[in-house]
Amino acid sequence: MAIRTTPAAADQNMLPADPIVVAADVRKRFGSNEVLKGIDLRVPKGEVLCIIGPSGSGKSTFLRCINQLERIDGGAIWVAGELVGYRREGNFLYELTDAEIARQRRRIGMVFQRFNLFPHLTALENIIEGPVQVLGEKPAEARERAEALLARVGLADKRDAYPAHLSGGQQQRVAIARALAMRPELLLFDEPTSALDPELVGEVLGVMRDLAGTGMTMIVVTHELGFAREVSNRVAFMDQGQLVEIGDARQVLSDPQQARTRAFISAVHK
């Protein structure tokens, strides 16, 4: 599936904001190891897409390409209609400056497997850091919103706790609140529950489920097939740098069309 942009569009840098993500033939290599071998994907606004697949298949790398933690070697990605990493003028693509890349990243939230909260800041300070320092929000305003977000993830009483004093599940919920504080148009989750003790997985998935209900566009790399089946609209199966199969969540998980998908799903269920 090749992406065709209409040459008639007045400003080629402003394509429709829906789909939120358009990936066209995205390629990425580390040295001689080609990790992404041409990914094509469209994620419409409000969709929850789960990406599953074996270890090393390139799931994290693809997510990181979307918010430019990795640079792609081929193809292109648009987020909310804006070309990622480049500015297009006619037939030329100009590489963006660091400041422009930083600006593009603001609207994409990311939740990491290892939380990555700022350890020298309290839960509340973690959440207001982005809005105040990056978006230029007034501290009092940001604080008020942060408290509402903490309440939303069930941690109103932990506002002054440092990350080291929080459980893994609580840290991940603060991390989600921190991402939400930037009012993102897209949230990326990279195995958000993989570093958690089993009894803490539920509380984080619960917050994500609520979030999905609010219409947030989410791309979730996960091994939680139950969550994928229940919450996501579509599931994509990735293997060896390719999207092998993508479709309705229940359908892909219950009745996969590709042999590789079938093998993976039955292996996970063992």
Binding site: N67, L69, D98, A99, A102, R103, Q104, R105, R106, I108, G109, M110, F112, R114, N116, L117, F118, P119, H120, L121, T122, E129, G130, Q133, V134, D160, Y162, P163, A164, H165, R178, A179, M182
Partner: protein, 281 residues
């Protein structure tokens, strides 16, 4: 029925005797007493020590020592941060320039650097912008300026390595989380990375500050009037060599003790959120 052999609570406990410790303690006390006695009966006029402890020349020297140590550290830390960031830059010119700076100024002895700066006029008799203005180098390279440059620049080379270690000690995930929030590189360093690196940076920099207080004594050879230089000037006149050296040593002890206390405070501040129970805010 309970066996009576297992009932021992009525017996008396006899603590173990630490004979080795007693012997060691006795030896150490005896040695300390011998040293104290030797100084008490030695050729030291203790009343001179007291007399010269606070004379104006010594006080001026003390102030000069403190001022030089602080300014040289400020220069050193500023250069250290700049060169550490350059060293970690992806730009090879910046990175190798920093490497060269660190290599050069760590290798050349501080005393030699002081002498080089002080004698810069031998290489460049005048300095300035050609055609705009120019001044004789000897007028610029006062003992103060030469000492500040010599000490500050070599300190920068050491501090750069300390700062670099601090920056590298911060987890990659912290950089990524900051970038994801849309922070620019400078903001990320200032708000997220440096505050965490400080925990690693402060203890060695504190030690180097203490080292710097003592290193300023080298500046006496280029006629900078720090405390050792003042003490020497006095004993050249009155020959009370040991007494005046003790006066200088006394003040070094005081300054270093105060610095150690301050260092502890700063370390505590930057350990915010580090370990359970360490949080005070």
């Amino acid at each position: 029925m309970t066996d009576t052999v297992y009932q021992i609570s009525h017996l008396v406990h006899v603590p173990r005797r630490h004979y080795g410790r007693m012997v060691a303690a006795a030896l150490v006390v005896a040695a300390l007493a011998a040293i104290a006695h030797a100084f008490a009966v030695g050729q030291i006029e203790w009343n001179y020590v007291g007399e010269f402890l606070t004379v104006p020349a010594i006080m001026t020297g003390l102030v000069n020592t403190i001022v030089m140590a602080i300014l040289a550290m400020v220069v050193g830390i500023a250069l250290g941060v700049i060169f550490a960031i350059m060293r970690l830059s992806e730009n090879p010119v910046l990175s190798y320039t920093a490497l060269g700076y660190i290599w050069l100024f760590r290798a050349v002895p501080a005393l030699l650097q002081l002498l080089l700066w002080f004698n810069l006029a031998l290489v460049f008799p005048t300095m300035g912008i050609p055609g705009v203005f120019s001044v004789p180098t000897v007028d610029v390279m006062t003992p103060f300026v030469a000492a500040l440059l010599g000490l500050g620049i070599q300190q920068g080379a050491f501090t750069a390595e300390v700062v670099r270690a601090g920056l590298l000690s911060v987890d990659r995930g912290q950089y990524e989380a900051a970038q994801t929030l849309g922070m620019t590189r400078l903001k990320m360093l200032r708000r997220i990375i440096m505050p965490q690196a400080m925990r690693v940076i402060i203890p060695p920099v504190g030690n180097e500050f203490i080292g710097m207080v003592k290193l300023t004594s080298l500046a006496s050879v280029i006629q900078y009037a720090e405390i050792l230089h003042s003490a020497q000037n006095i004993y050249y006149a009155n020959s009370r060599v040991i007494e005046l050296l003790i006066v200088a040593a006394f003040w070094y002890l005081i300054v270093v003790t105060i610095l150690s206390l301050i260092q502890g405070r700063i370390e505590k501040y930057f350990s915010k959120g580090a370990a359970p129970a360490a949080s005070t805010k």
